[in-house]
């Protein structure tokens, strides 16, 4: 993209009715250090925070680094922290702030910073690779999968995830404790395990993969203390805690902490 549309709009609409000057503080720096820089910048009606960041790039600080793509809340690229809250810049309307309010924009604090508002989110890709993928059922060839809506409806909610990693950023297990990153997959990937474990055709149990047990043993489900910050920040409004993490905790309890369920499964020799 040669010049973002929002930048062109900013030039054209300067001085238009309803415009006002806002005070922005944007974190500038890299892994070696940085600080919050102050800006006075024009804001127009209907704009979002990402528009203002683009206007800063266009008018005051052309080397400001920011990652973005769709500007529609679907690519998950422009994750940052606005007034201390993890949010998508493109989905945060300026109208939610008071006109006199100072708006502080910082990079996600749980991940290494690359430069300015851009962070290195490769931690998440590493965690994604640690989760065994869907295991195709041996008796069905591709194209022969048939599933009823009620069997897949529950996990369809999880597929709305745009991988913005705001849930990973806000989760205090890794945000406040870097040392837990090795043991904890984070809400996004525990949700992925829940999705696969609920999948009606996943043949993981038949191939010796115990998703319930490994969620607890290998992916750090026990670190989650269900304080729901992941759900609070999810821009897709996925009920991560209630519909994925708690059901997964209950499934792990079935496998590891409930002698009655264990006995029942032994007697009936089946899983449902």
């Amino acid at each position: 993209m040669s010049e973002p549309q929002a930048v062109q709009d900013g030039k054209e609409q300067s001085g238009q009715a309803g415009a006002y000057q806002a005070h922005f503080r944007v974190w500038r720096g890299d892994a070696d250090g940085g600080e919050l820089a102050d800006f006075q910048v024009e804001v127009h009606e209907g704009e979002v925070v990402l528009d203002i960041i683009h206007r800063l790039q266009a008018t005051q600080t052309p080397d400001l680094a920011v990652r973005w793509n769709c500007k529609a809340g679907k690519c998950g690229s422009c994750s940052a922290e606005i007034n201390g809250r993890p949010r998508l810049m493109c989905m945060t309307r300026m109208s939610v702030f008071d006109r006199t309010e100072t708006i502080t924009v910082t990079p996600m604090r749980a991940f290494p910073v690359v430069r300015d508002l851009v962070t290195d989110v490769s931690f998440n890709y590493a965690k994604a690779r640690e989760i065994p993928s869907f295991v195709p059922p041996a008796e069905l060839a591709p194209g022969e999968y048939r599933m009823k809506q009620e069997d897949v409806g529950r996990s369809q909610e999880f597929r709305k995830c745009i991988e913005c990693f705001l849930c990973q950023d806000t989760c205090h297990v890794v945000r406040d404790h870097e040392e837990n990153k090795a043991a904890f997959a984070g809400p996004r990937f525990l949700m992925r395990i829940a999705e696969l474990d609920m999948h009606p055709l996943d043949a993981a149990p038949e191939s010796g993969i115990d998703r319930k047990g490994s969620a607890q043993d290998d992916h750090g489900l026990g670190y989650c203390n269900i304080t729901k910050c992941c759900t609070e920040v999810c821009p897709e409004n996925i009920k991560i805690t209630d519909n994925a993490l708690i059901p997964l905790k209950e499934r792990a309890a079935d496998r590891k902490y409930d002698p009655l369920v264990w006995l029942g499964n032994k007697i009936r020799r089946r899983t449902e």
């Binding site: 974190w27 720096g29 892994a31 940085g34 600080e35 919050l36 922290e81 007034n83 201390g84 809250r85 993890p86 309010e101 502080t104 910082t106 990079p107 604090r109 749980a110 991940f111 290494p112 910073v113 290195d120 009823k148 009620e150 069997d151 529950r154 806000t170 205090h172 297990v173 945000r175 406040d176 404790h177 870097e178 837990n180 474990d197 609920m198 999948h199 009606p200 750090g220 026990g222 670190y223 989650c224 203390n225 269900i226 304080t227 910050c229 609070e232 920040v233 209630d242 708690i246 059901p247 905790k249 209950e250 499934r251 309890a253 079935d254 590891k256 902490y257 409930d258 899983t271 449902e272």
Partner: protein, 260 residues
């Protein structure tokens, strides 16, 4: 919360809203209930006024209970128990609420600041969550749920008994019956909306299509479960109010208005 490669932001948080209000209000509410219920549980007095028995003392499992005609006097523990009989039964609803997924969030945030609010750094140097003793015991929530169902059953029985008058004649109703009725509806709604209940009823299944009845029940419980926090608070308040109502009657501070 800092590591070498992260953005160097020294502030513990940059939130500008009143993020402390929710955990402070939660902690204050829970603390108020703890103080009230501790006083009432240890008081061992003013818990019965025919036909009402305080939900804190029901069922009464020791011999040192008031005789409640037709009421929940089940002397399983016999005469050796000398303390308040409330202590014998309150352990079950207490355990149910302590291990409840909503209350865990509430007290982890409100009392332990782990975290105090989203994107606000917690004050602890180390964090192991629910991976170790004692917090790994949170996984027995479902067993407390089973007991909670039994206790709710007894409280339902107590509510039915309130449709008597002070001479134990059936077919009467007082303001207390209404208080008990509201309380038991909220207690059941909270108990049934439990995440463990949702799991046991249908959540553990992989093929809902093979279990249509359980699927339907799971859906209903799911809708209640969305209001679990609201039900947790309203049932906590209602159970305290029901107990306080009985206290007022038993201590002679108030006369139960009779409807018929």
């Amino acid at each position: 919360m800092h590591s070498a490669a992260r953005a160097a932001i020294p502030a513990r948080h940059l939130r500008t809203d009143r993020w402390w209000l929710a955990p402070a209000a939660t902690a204050a509410g829970l603390l108020a209930f703890i103080v009230y219920s501790t006083w009432r549980a240890f008081a061992n007095a003013d818990y019965y006024h025919a036909p009402y028995v305080s939900p804190f003392y029901s069922p009464c499992l020791a011999e040192n209970c008031h005789t409640m005609r037709g009421g929940p006097n089940w002397e399983i523990f016999g005469s050796w128990w000398g303390l308040s009989p409330a202590l014998l039964i309150l352990i079950f609803p207490l355990g149910f609420r302590l291990t409840c997924y909503y209350y865990r969030k509430a007290y982890y945030r409100g009392f332990w600041a782990s975290p105090p609010a989203c994107a606000v750094a917690e004050p602890h140097k180390k964090y192991t969550g629910e991976t170790r003793f004692p917090l790994i015991l949170q996984n027995i929530h479902r067993y407390f749920f089973y007991f909670a169902v039994l206790v709710a059953g007894v409280l339902t029985y107590d509510t039915a008994l309130t449709f008597r008058d002070e001479h134990y004649h059936w077919g009467h109703m007082g303001l207390g019956s209404l208080v008990f009725l509201v309380n038991i509806v909220l207690i059941w709604a909270y108990t049934v909306s439990c995440h463990s209940c949702r799991h046991i009823v249908g959540g553990r299944l992989r093929h809902f299509s093979k279990h249509p009845v359980r699927y339907r029940l799971w859906g209903w419980i799911g809708r209640l479960n969305e209001r679990h926090m609201l039900l947790a608070w309203s049932s906590l308040i209602s159970v305290a109010l029901a107990d306080f109502y009985v206290f007022l009657l038993a201590s002679g501070a108030f006369e139960d208005p009779r409807f018929f």
